[in-house]
């Protein structure tokens, strides 16, 4: 019963330097009030779950649904930027999710703090949000 996020993908030049070892330059967003604020998450925490679908101009890309996905958190002005984790990057890159126009739907069910502590996200209820 996790956090279901639907967000456009955004292309940056590079992830912020403090998370650059783990993150790649593509990110999605989610309002902080649904993620970092209630769960008291911080920059660099890892957010994980699975891809529900990735669409381009309304058409679903094949081969991505159900794949595990991880992101690296970086918060800007009450918006959580979820940069694609380096472990997830090859899958998305190889499907061409490297330019604007894609929309990603992901089911996020856990966060791993930089301390190593794992947190379940909304284990008792599914929350649907738009990024």
């Amino acid at each position: 019963m996790p956090l279901l996020v639907s967000s456009p993908i955004y292309i940056s030049d590079a992830p912020p330097s403090s998370i650059a070892d783990e993150a790649r330059y593509v990110f999605i967003t989610v309002p902080s009030r649904w993620l970092s604020k209630p769960y008291e998450l911080s920059d660099g925490d890892i957010i994980s779950g699975e891809i529900v679908e990735v669409r381009y101009k309304g058409e679903e890309l094949e081969g991505l649904s159900g794949a595990p996905a991880s992101f690296v958190l970086w918060t800007v002005a009450r918006v959580d930027h979820l940069y694609i984790h380096k472990s997830t990057w090859p899958l998305l890159r190889d499907h061409g999710v490297v330019y604007e126009g894609h929309v990603m739907v992901v089911r996020l069910d856990r966060a791993i703090r930089t301390s190593g502590e794992e947190v379940q996200l909304y284990p008792k209820r599914e929350i649907k949000v738009k990024g």
């Binding site: 955004y10 940056s12 590079a14 912020p16 970086w74 800007v76 002005a77 918006v79 604007e100």
Partner: protein, 128 residues
Amino acid sequence: MSDEAREKLRIAEEHMDNFYRALARGELDKAGEFLWATVNALVHALALTRGERLPAKHGPVRDFVRKLAGELEDEALWDAFRDAEKLHANFYSPGIFEEEELRAMIDNVVNRLVRGLYELAESELRKG
């Protein structure tokens, strides 16, 4: 002045929403201009939290950020403001910068300036 500051923060958030929409479409020129508007609203908000109402002109906003960067000993903040000015200029004269330069400037403004100004303004408002 804290109500006015909160209103400026709300305006900044609206500009950021527009920024994200433009960025998602790959419209970097527009995205840069929305960032410039965001930065202006945030500077006005932060000034208000400090009891200062800035005139709606470029110069006082620029002076405020230069002074702030000095006070915080944060040269990167000032550099990011310069990038915001370049994004503003680019909107009226598109093509000055290559796409990768625009993306790098947008990153710098979002991750250093917008983030920094927003945190400072919120922190000042919490102090009340």
